[in-house]
């Protein structure tokens, strides 16, 4: 991280010298203009990318931040003679306030979907435009002339001042994006983009991180908007609240790559350069058609963007750039340096984006898994004295003796008129392995959802280690020591197996930074025998392996209680045996487990205690063999009298 930031600082320092050496390099002032345009768009695209790229919440509302920033500067400096430099922090602050208001409204919605957020942000600039038109203390729709500020003479001409100012903002933006990407914050945002409620369940305070992201986006957007006011000199509604700004930031970020800090930088540089060359070539009419086509093409053909493609094919792209840039001069395509650079950039991008059939990452074709399981699990299985008892045998830990870990008191949850859980009172103690069984619709999954905080109870209380958790956000329930797995495994698709587990450690009960978390993940992967798959992506592994990954991720957060929601569904007998062995070892490591399972064979084998639910009530509770032979249970489960 240090090295990256140092690299950015060095690049910025190099660029900062440019206006002072420009004349000795024999370059015209036009280069200053084109570069500060690139810097401006870099800042804007980066601002957009923090929320819309990293966290996946698409926004059409970038114009709102630019507009608030530009109008703050224009109204205060243009109409109230406030010093321009004082208006800059105010522009940033107001834009942050707007961002937080939008965020607080939108992200409070539990059912908010990405598409609805996108359309909501479409409305924000339109509302602001309307306010500006109505309110004569702003401009009443007339527009405001922005006076040029007083700046020290050393900075050179006004263009040079704009250059340095925009460079500073772009540098700030890129540094923020870089720092976020390389910290827990960035990982939290990726997890939110991949699967928000899973992230929340792992202990990620998603609301807070989304608010941070939108605030950072607003800060950069607003400050850069204040700079925009100076560039256009005359701020009016059409210039800032129209759809040009969102179109450009979206095209730039999507083209450059949304998941990386470098993406918007590359995208902005490319688009500004090409746009300028198109205008010079007299093709101005065509530029929007080209950008629209680029957007549609890149989303379909290269969603990861130029950034990833260029890094995958650096030599070929560089070769194309040099060849076309140099080659275009003698054949008369390029008259000046910028033409050559433009032609080269287009060529390099075309080569980088050229569709290839992506070969699947090669994996060990031979399944080593069953072999290694047999070899490694037999000894552990035979060395399990306490748990490997006959079903119904006396269990080593008597539940009554241990401290209550999970308490449900009068717990009810209804959906409309359906009582999924009805006045359930249940206590689980440290060290138990509770099998939760019952027919479909008996309330098992509802209980898991209530315990993990995904749902709120209609009535009743839940206590985890004495703390009342009913009504807490899932990430706080997770922090109090509850972890869960999902019936259908839900790994984060854009993280490797190792990073999926590391995620849980980074946001677990003892949060650790990335490097330490990755090291720690190794241990948990060893534990479930997934070490050989640590560096592949979840879509490359099979269901059984994904379910083991679910478990590894759940125990990595260092829980006290682990809720396994049908963790064995869809596995074949061999896989079930190996998963059962893993569950045993988790239990032996001292984690209390609640397992929802339909396979009674497994429950009888594993559980120290069985709770039978039927239509939201607790039907039976006790050691497996006794419970399973109770007539009421048999009736509920099999639907008939024994022997009938």
């Amino acid at each position: 991280m240090r090295r990256g930031l140092a690299g950015i600082a060095l690049t910025v320092a190099g660029l900062a010298v440019f206006p002072f050496v420009r004349e000795s390099l024999g370059l015209t002032g036009f280069y200053v203009v084109i570069l500060y345009t690139i810097f401006f768009w870099t800042a804007q695209a980066t601002s957009w990318n923090l929320l819309s790229g990293y966290a996946g919440y698409f926004s059409f509302g970038q114009g709102a931040f630019v507009g608030v920033g530009a109008y703050t500067a224009a109204v205060l400096a243009g109409r109230h003679d406030v010093d321009y430099f004082i208006t800059i922090p105010l522009a940033g602050a107001l834009s942050v306030v707007l961002a937080l208001v939008v965020g607080a409204l939108a992200f409070r919605l539990r059912s908010l979907r990405g598409e609805i957020f996108a359309l909501l942000t479409l409305a924000v600039p339109l509302i602001l435009a309307s306010v500006a038109r109505l309110n004569t203390t702003i401009d009443g729709g007339q527009g405001i002339i922005v006076p040029a500020p007083e700046f020290p003479d050393v900075l050179g001409a006004f263009q040079d001042f704009l250059y340095l100012f925009n460079l500073a903002i772009a540098a700030l933006a890129v540094a923020i994006a870089y720092a976020i990407q390389h910290s827990r914050f960035g990982w939290a945002l990726i997890a939110i983009r991949d699967s928000e409620d899973v992230a929340e369940g792992l202990g990620v305070p998603t609301f807070r991180y989304k608010m941070f992201a939108i605030a950072a986006s607003g800060l950069i957007g607003g400050i850069s908007g204040a700079a925009f006011a100076q560039q256009i000199g005359f701020v009016n509604v059409q210039a800032v609240f129209g759809l040009t700004i969102p179109l450009f930031v979206i095209v730039m970020s999507v083209l450059g790559g949304r998941t990386h800090w470098l993406g918007p930088v590359i995208g902005a540089t490319f688009i500004v350069l090409v746009q300028d060359r198109l205008v010079v070539a007299g093709l101005e009419k065509w530029r929007l058609i080209i950008f629209g086509a680029v957007l549609a093409f890149v989303v379909v053909a290269a969603p990861e963007g130029l950034q990833a493609r260029l890094r995958a094919r650096p030599a070929v792209s560089l070769g194309a750039f040099v060849l076309l840039a140099v080659g275009s001069v003698p054949i008369g395509v390029s008259d000046e340096l910028l033409d050559a650079v433009g032609v080269g950039a287009v060529g390099a991008a075309a080569v980088a984006l050229w569709p290839v059939s992506r070969r699947p990452v090669s994996r060990q074709p031979v399944s080593l898994w069953p072999v290694s399981v047999d070899a490694s699990l037999q000894p552990t299985a035979s060395s399990e004295p306490a748990v490997h008892v006959e079903p119904g045998g006396v269990v080593a830990d008597s539940p009554a003796a241990a401290a209550p870990l999970v308490e449900c008191i009068g717990l009810s949850r209804s959906f409309g008129g359906v009582h999924a859980l009805d006045d359930l009172t249940l206590t689980m103690s440290e060290g138990e392995l509770v099998g939760l069984v019952g027919p479909n619709g008996s309330g098992k999954t509802t209980l898991v959802n209530l315990l993990s905080g995904t749902m709120r109870p209609t009535r009743g209380r839940i206590r985890i280690v004495g703390d009342d958790t009913a009504g807490l956000a899932p990430h706080r329930v997770a922090r109090s020591g509850v972890a869960r797995t999902y019936q259908i495994p839900r790994p984060f698709p854009s993280m490797t197996v190792r990073d999926n587990v590391a995620m849980a450690i980074m946001f677990g009960r003892e949060p650790r930074p990335l490097a330490a978390a990755r090291l720690g993940a190794q241990e948990h992967l060893d534990f479930v025998h997934l070490t050989h798959l640590a560096d592949v992506y979840p879509h490359e592994i099979n269901l059984h392996e994904r379910q083991l990954l679910e478990m590894a991720r759940a125990i990595a957060s260092n829980p006290r209680v682990l809720l396994l929601d049908e963790a064995l569904a869809g596995l074949n007998p061999t896989e079930i045996d190996s998963a059962v062995a893993v569950i045993r070892r988790i239990h032996q490591a001292g984690i209390t487990i609640v397992i929802v399972e339909h396979l009674l064979r497994v429950v009888n084998q594993l559980a120290t205690r069985v709770v039978v639910l039927d239509r939201g009530h607790c039907l039976a509770d006790g050691d497996p063999l006794t419970v399973m032979s109770e007539p009421a249970v048999v009736t509920a489960y099999l639907g008939r009298q024994p022997g009938a």
Binding site: L105, A118, L120, A123, L288, G292, L295, A296, P303
Partner: protein, 289 residues
């Protein structure tokens, strides 16, 4: 103009908004494609109406014979492409945004940025109005409202009563299961998108009857039409019509009572509130979805 007159005019204009929203709502709800390019199709419909009436001296209402088939094919082709490329719901927003920009720019190259309006001798409807009691209604908006109501009823009945409609609803609910029951989603999707395209032709015609057209007009529709789609409940035709009427009324009353510039403010504030309070639309779930 009195507030009552404004409210009633707003109701009629709301019919036009609903007309624009049907296509967006149906493809979003049934096909999971948020098709911003639909606004481009409406724009093309409006320009084609203008062009055919002006060049061939046709009655504007007759031009639908030309525009509807053209836009049916355009809508169907778009859906074919979306389906072929397996574009996700969120990505469809981006791809169709790109397409919309292309259409708008192409329109401004062909028809320039100038305002285009059908001249009075080819478009007799623009100046006509109907007087009912103390209220006056311009014929174009009256026609627009009537067409919207009829179309909403037809679509609703088709979705409820016919085999194709049931197949579409099944498909919207669960693609995999519907496919397992032998529903050919490709053809149905293309057909529905074609119908949505044809509805864009109607919307474009109705818009051009009483308004001037310029390439950037779709940006004006954006906000209001999405307000109507979301308020009405995505994929819900009856809800869309009701939402259109409400939004039209709100916008018209706000511009009379307060100021024309306040109309968008009122409408968009209403959307934001509606999104927060009823994210699934005004009507209870169910409907045509």
């Amino acid at each position: 103009m009195t507030t009552a007159q404004a409210a009633l005019s707003g109701v009629l204009v709301g019919g036009l908004y609903a007309m624009m929203a049907f296509g967006v709502s149906l493809t979003w709800g049934m096909l999971k494609v948020i098709n911003l390019a639909h606004f481009g199709l409406i724009l093309i419909g409006a320009y084609l109406t203008y062009q055919t009436t002006t060049s061939w001296d046709l009655d504007p209402l007759l031009t639908i014979v030309v525009t509807a088939p053209v836009l049916f094919v355009a809508g169907a082709l778009l859906q074919w492409a979306y389906d072929r490329l397996a574009i996700s719901e969120l990505n469809s927003l981006l791809v169709s945004f790109g397409l919309l920009v292309i259409i708008i720019q192409a329109a401004s190259i062909i028809w320039t940025e100038d305002f285009r309006r059908m001249s009075a001798d080819v478009n007799p409807y623009a100046t006509e109005s109907v007087r009912i009691g103390e209220f006056i209604f311009p014929t174009p908006t009256l026609v627009a409202f009537a067409v919207a109501v009829v179309l909403a009823a037809v679509i609703q009945l088709t979705l409820r009563r016919t085999f194709v409609g049931r197949a579409l609803r099944a498909f919207a609910e669960d693609r995999t299961v519907a496919a397992a029951f032998g529903i050919d989603h490709r053809r149905l999707g293309v057909l529905l998108a074609g119908v949505a395209g044809a509805s864009a032709a109607v919307a474009g015609l109705l818009w051009s009857l009483s308004n001037a057209i310029t390439p950037s007009t779709p940006y004006e529709w954006f906000g209001i039409v999405f307000a109507v789609v979301i308020l009405g409940g995505v994929g819900n035709v009856a809800g869309t019509l009701i939402a259109g009427v409400l939004v039209g009324m709100l916008s018209s009353v706000a511009s009379i009572v307060w100021s024309p510039a306040a109309a968008p403010l009122a409408v968009f504030s209403a959307i934001v509130v509606a999104l927060l309070v009823r994210p699934h639309g005004l009507l209870p779930a169910g409907g045509a979805r």
